[in-house]
Structures are given as structure tokens and as C-alpha cells.
């Protein structure tokens, strides 16, 4: 090993670790665990698969559908049906990125190696963003294309020409990314896998259900500001009165992510590891 050590001074310790090193560490952690890749693959498979199945079902049923039913079919939205399930998968990924450290006891090694805790959280968020955004957008794009190719059989497919279609596809990537960040924040707050996933599902879906029980217009108005509907608003081709305008939907989702990570960041520095 090395020879006898004297009092260490900065010059003998080598280059000083910076945030970039924390980021690299978190990226390595993310990419070297199989659950990351399985989850992203599941997002791809489910989004494309369900989109194709639903599109094929519409094509199969088209001749027997009434005019009203035919008019209600939104080709883009239908081809992206699988996206709903992907949001659950991505929540699991976001939660696991942090809670797996607590369950394994690794968090102590992590926070000992990188004592600046908010930087660790930020690095986890930043390393999650590119793969989730890429896979989210890619899966939406492929689902859209394959779905429209199937629907073209009955002449109801749309093309990616119009900006609204691009908004739906890129919006899927953005929604998935922001939801992963919301889940990351929840995981850091709750520090326990099952509880954090339950909270994520609660925020995403259960809140929606409960709010729909409130009398109109309260239920609808409040639920517009919850992640699920805010995400739908961003991806919706034709704006509808029961949802926010698209960019407001994005802003609301961003706010959720900022609050989730902000509270998590505040807590992580205050609490014992």
C-alpha cells in the first residue's frame, strides 16, 4: 500500500471532488442496476404494446361503430393508451433510485462519501432525467407511429406533421420525467419503498378518484391541478374544458416536481441518515 502517512494536507489529497463527481457516481449507480433497464424496457413495451392493441381493436370494431362513437375516437390519444401504465412503472423507478439505498443500508456509505446531501439528491434527479425523457419520448413516438400505421387501415390514422402531435409525443417524455422526479422526492421523504410507491400511486391515481367524488365543479377544478390530469392536459391534442391549457399543465407538473424535491431536500439535510 502506501508509506507512513503524516498529517494530510490538501495538496497531497489530489483533486477535490466536485458536483460532477457526485453526478457520475449517481449515474453509475443508476446504470449498473438491472431494475433500471427492466423498468425502462417495460415502459417501452407497455406503451407500444397497448397502443398497438387498442388501435387494432378500434380497426376491428370500426365497421360496427356508430357515428358518435367514431367521432369520439382520438387517434393520437388511443395510440398512447399504454402511457397510463408507464407512469406507474416510472414512479417505481423514481422511488427505487433512493429507497433501495435505505433498504440496503447503502445510504450511509453514500452520505459518508458525499456529505453534501442536497447535491446527492440533485445528482439522482439529474441522472434520472435523460434516460427517462429519452425512453418516454421514444416509446410515445413508436407507439404513435405503430398505432397510426394500424389505424391507417381504416383511414383514420394521423401523421406527425401537426405541432399538436409532436406536443403529445414530447409531452409524454416530459410527463414521464417529471413524474419520475415527483416519485424521487416522495422516496426521499418517506425513505421506504412500499410507502413511497403507495404515496406515488395515491397522488397519481387515488387522489383523482377521491376528487371525482366531490361535487362539481370542485372535484373537476381541483383534479385539473393534480399530476395525472396536468399530464393529460399537456398531451391532449384538442384542448377540452375539463383540463388546463397544455402549457399550464406542464407548469403545474413542474411545480409538483419542484415541491416534491424541495421538501425532500430540506428533510434530507435535517434528518439523521
Amino acid at each position: 500500500m502506501t508509506t507512513t502517512l503524516t498529517e494530510p494536507d490538501a495538496t497531497t489529497l489530489g483533486p477535490r471532488p466536485r458536483f460532477a463527481d457526485t453526478l457520475l457516481c449517481e449515474w453509475t449507480k443508476l446504470r449498473t442496476v438491472r431494475s433500471t433497464w427492466w423498468t425502462l424496457f417495460a415502459v417501452l413495451a407497455v406503451t407500444i404494446g397497448f397502443g398497438a392493441i387498442v388501435s387494432a381493436a378500434i380497426v376491428g370494431r370500426w365497421d360496427r361503430m356508430s357515428l358518435a362513437q367514431r367521432l369520439a375516437v382520438d387517434p393520437t390519444a388511443r395510440s398512447l393508451t399504454g402511457f397510463m401504465l408507464s407512469q406507474l412503472f416510472i414512479g417505481v423507478l423514481g422511488v427505487l433510485v433512493i429507497t433501495s439505498e435505505y433498504s440496503a443500508g447503502m445510504i450511509r456509505s453514500t452520505l459518508a462519501a458525499m456529505p453534501h446531501r442536497r447535491q446527492v439528491l440533485a445528482a439522482k434527479a439529474m441522472s434520472l432525467t435523460p434516460p427517462v425523457f429519452l425512453v418516454g419520448t421514444l416509446s410515445a413516438l413508436l407507439a404513435f407511429l405503430s398505432g397510426q400505421a394500424i389505424l391507417a387501415g381504416k383511414g383514420i390514422g394521423v401523421s406527425l406533421g401537426a405541432p399538436q402531435e409532436w406536443r403529445a409525443v414530447l409531452g409524454a417524455g416530459l410527463v414521464l420525467t417529471l413524474e419520475a422526479l415527483i416519485a424521487l422526492g416522495l422516496g426521499a421523504m418517506i425513505r421506504q419503498t412500499a410507502g413511497a410507491i403507495a404515496s406515488y400511486v395515491g397522488v397519481l391515481l387515488v387522489a383523482q378518484l377521491l376528487l371525482s367524488a366531490l361535487p362539481d365543479p370542485y372535484g373537476r377544478d381541483i383534479s385539473e391541478y393534480f399530476p395525472f390530469n396536468a399530464g393529460r392536459a399537456l398531451m391532449k391534442i384538442h384542448t377540452t374544458p375539463d383540463l388546463l391549457p397544455p402549457w399550464s399543465g406542464l407548469a403545474v407538473l413542474c411545480a409538483w416536481a419542484v415541491v416534491s424535491l424541495g421538501v425532500a431536500g430540506w428533510l434530507i439535510t435535517r434528518r439523521d441518515a
Binding site: 440496503a104 447503502m106 459518508a112 462519501a113 458525499m114
Partner: protein, 304 residues
Amino acid sequence: MIEAQHLTKLYGPTRAVDDLSFKVVPGRVTGFLGPNGAGKSTTMRVIMGLDAATTGQVTINGTPYIRHTHPMREVGALLDARAFHTGRTAFNHLLCLAQSNRIPHARVDEVLALVGLESVAKRRAGGFSMGMGQRLGIAAALLGDPGVLLFDEPVNGLDPEGILWVRNLLKSLAAEGRTVFVSSHLMSEMALTADHLIVIGKGRLIADATVTDFVSQSTGAHVRVRALQPDDLARVLVAEGAKVERVDDGALRVTGLDCRHVGALAARHGLELHELVLHQPTLEAAYMEATQDATEYRAAAPAS
């Protein structure tokens, strides 16, 4: 060097660490002993900046842990056995830690070889035995080649060869001038490994002494002497202030004087000696005696 000053940690009403002050100096192995629940792990976590002290402070080389610019290069710790993600390979586990502190990749291979895990570097850590997991933790502590090392129960789960390896590793690290702070329950190992002891109980300091001093100040230490004229010898020794007891087989059990002193007194008074032995209690016995009031969780003695 690790220096704790009036360190106190409260978990609600419980005083896990109570006004603890000590220094762990480089160049020797310092053992950290105490019954279960004494606050050893808590103290180590506070030293590492993982838990915040309620009052008081602890510094490593003069700076609190969280303010160190190169954490892993200054301090290495093994606090939890098997504290790693089961799905990650040993290599990747060490790699991400190395990357976090700008430690070169080559160092990962080095420490893996050092702990004897190079053949399983690419295996998922979840499949490791307890001993292998322990070695991986030690490897992580050594990654930055730090001057200060903390080990919490490092020989847990190791086979005799592994235990010997750790013992030699700790001693060689201390011989290199590093600060080595080891907590363990294995008294026999501590007796062989440690040079200095810090003993705590119920969060408070009980002893801060060299192993020799700690053992000799326990009541078990005595000199056993057999003389031709035991009564005369006993009288002489008592006059010197020693405590003398007659043992069944005719020998005397002398407390308060060492062998040299007893031998010199006997010679001065012309008394013939047939046996003169120093009986040192084991570290275990000395420890039990020192911590008997501080043991929180004591099993009932088996019914005889």
C-alpha cells in the same frame, strides 16, 4: 486523529451518548468497547456526520467530518456489514464510490486484490457470503487510502483465517501511522489487536486507557506466591500495604504489589520462595467487571 468533546446524542428522551470526550490518536489500534446499546454505533455514526450530535462536537484531524474536502481520502469507515445493493456487482459498487471522490479506477482493482475479492469482482454482491460482504465493506473503507479508519465489528462473520487477516490488517494500518478505531465484542480478538481502549457504557465513558493498564487495574490482577514460611511472608506483604489471602493449596494471593516488589521484599527478609507468578485477568474479565453496572440488556443466568 479523532477528537470528541462532550458529545451528547439524544433520541427523544434516551441519552444514547452522554457527554463523551475522548481522543483517538494515530499510530495505534484503539478498541471501542461497550455492552450492547452502549452507544458505540451511534458514536461512530456521529463521527461520520451521518447523525447530528445534540450537543458537543467531534472532529477528525481538527475538522468536523462534513466539512472535509476529500471525505473518502481522509476517512474510511466500515459501519454496516452488507450495506450494498444486492443487484450490483462488487466492482460497480466500489466504482461508484471511487468516482464520487475522484479516486482513480485502478484503485478499485487494487483494493479488491487487497481484500481478496478480485475473482468475484464481477459477481452480484447479493450472492456474497457474510465474510465476502464484510471484505467488500473493508475494501470500500480503504478506497481512498485514508489516514483515519473506523471499523464497526469488522470480524463479524469471518472465518478464523479472515479474522487473522483483519487483525494483521488493522495492526499494519496502525503501524503505517494511521488512526485506527475499531469497535468489537470479540474480547479475545481485541486483546490481541488493540493497543488502547475506550470503554463506554450507557452512553458514558467508563475507561480510556492502554490495554495493559485497563487489565491490570481490574480486581482480578494478582500475584500468586508460595513460600516456605507463608505466615511471615504474609505479615511482610500486609505491612507494605498489600491485600493477602490464603488460597486452599497453601499459596498466597497477593493484590496490590507486582512480582518484582514481592520478590524483593521476600529477599530482603530472607524468605524462601517456591512460586512467584503474575496472574493477569483476561480482557474479557476486566471488561465484564468495568461494565457490569452499565449493561442494559442482560440475559438471565441459565437455571442450574
